[in-house]
């Protein structure tokens, strides 16, 4: 039972962060594409802005790994 709960917690940790990242990236991606269409010189800034939310899912992955293999 404990293993099931741990697997569920790990799934939540990575699943929720992945969903949040996807949602935020869709918004930042759309806005970034709009900004790039008007000002192509912003390419580097937009790539960084799109990449920032990735940290969320990476942290989610770390937390999920700690839940599953940490103890």
């Amino acid at each position: 039972m404990e293993k099931v709960l741990m697997a569920f917690a790990a799934a939540l940790a990575i699943g929720l962060t992945a969903l949040a990242t996807a949602w935020v990236q869709s918004k930042i991606g759309s806005a970034g594409a709009g900004a790039l269409a008007e000002k192509p010189e912003l390419t580097a800034t937009i790539i960084i802005l799109v990449a920032i939310p990735e940290t969320m899912v990476i942290l989610g992955f770390v937390v999920a790994s700690m839940i599953l293999f940490g103890g």
Partner: protein, 323 residues
């Protein structure tokens, strides 16, 4: 029947359009006073960006530049945004309709009307009616039957044209559209805009009534923030002072020289200020509306500058919408 065209695509996400608009806002003229202080304001206004858009330096050319930009914004919008902004675009297209009718009455070739309709957002059905080579009275009858009778069954454009000419038709079409728009369930930003616009039209009616001592009862548009009883009370008070007070209450701007253009421009500046504040509050819809309104005021100022090269700058400034 649809007044506006219905694009096939689903458009782009709101965030994309807002980002593009924020980029495009940088191109708008911000300091009209700087332009006016130059040796030739009209020439100063023709940098490369405008030159490519305003193909011919005529009022129609400026109007086309505005329609082109409006069309671009409309086609980028997704369905949700199009629903919010349909009333605004219907309102902006009333001028296109009037311009087309004016070309017909001036017996010019229909090429010019077709030229204006090229960038217009009017639907194919409306364009077909306006593009017909028919007598204006018959054309008005058909236009009314197809597009206006569903909004207000008692317009009688043909009769108004016979009695008052195109000016009467123009006023009637704008009033019918305004009545129709304000009766719709509008987005709060759009609602605020139209309420302000109705107030502007009502105050201008009030001013003209007072200025030219018109004997007939003025017709006010319902739906503004200033009640009809308040407007009628202002008429009873008489003189220009209560009107100036009313303008100050609505816009927060004081007028020193109450001429027709100063009053209209002050009211427009008040609306510009209102939209600017709404856009700063962070709503995407408000930002888009603010941009569309700025394009409109810029085109208006632009055409005034192009047509008044010989007018003294002090007088010219009064004709422009400057905040």
């Amino acid at each position: 029947m649809n007044l506006l065209l219905n694009p096939e695509g689903s458009g782009y996400p709101a965030e994309y359009l807002i980002a593009r608009i924020q980029g495009r806002r940088a191109r708008l003229v911000k300091k009209w006073d700087d332009i006016l202080s130059g040796p030739a304001p009209a020439e100063t206004l023709l940098p490369a960006y405008y030159k490519s858009l305003v193909a011919e330096y005529t009022k129609e050319g400026v109007w086309k530049y505005m329609l082109k930009e409006f069309r671009w914004v409309y086609l980028q919008m997704n369905r949700g945004l199009r629903n919010i902004f349909n009333p605004f675009f219907i309102y902006s297209e009333t001028k296109t309709i009037v311009l087309c009718l004016r070309h017909k009455i001036e017996k010019e070739t229909s090429t010019k009307a077709e030229d204006i309709l090229l960038y217009s957002l009017l639907s194919r059905e409306v364009k077909e009616v306006l593009g017909k080579e028919a007598e204006l009275a018959l054309l008005l009858e058909e236009f009314e039957k197809k597009f206006i009778s569903s909004m207000d069954g008692t317009t009688g454009l043909k009769e108004i044209f016979a009695e008052e000419g195109l000016k009467g038709v123009e006023e009637k079409v704008v009033n019918v559209f305004m009545h129709h728009i304000i009766s719709l369930k509008l987005h709060p930003v759009s609602h605020g805009f139209f309420v302000f616009l109705i107030d502007i039209k009502n105050i201008m009616t009030l001013y003209k009534h007072e200025r030219w001592a018109i004997k007939t009862d003025p017709v006010f548009i319902q739906g503004g923030s200033i009640s009809e009883s308040m407007l009628r009370k202002t008429i009873q008070e008489g003189g220009i002072t209560p009107i100036i007070r009313l303008i100050h209450q609505r816009t927060g701007i004081s007028i020193h020289e109450p001429g027709a253009s100063e009053i209209e421009n002050t009211l427009f500046a008040g609306l510009t200020k209102y939209l600017k504040l709404k856009a700063r509050e962070g709503s995407g819809a408000a930002l888009i509306l603010d941009y569309l309104w700025k394009i409109y005021t810029e085109a208006r100022n632009f055409s005034i500058l192009l047509y008044s090269r010989d007018i003294e700058k002090v007088h010219l400034r009064k004709e422009l919408v400057i905040l």
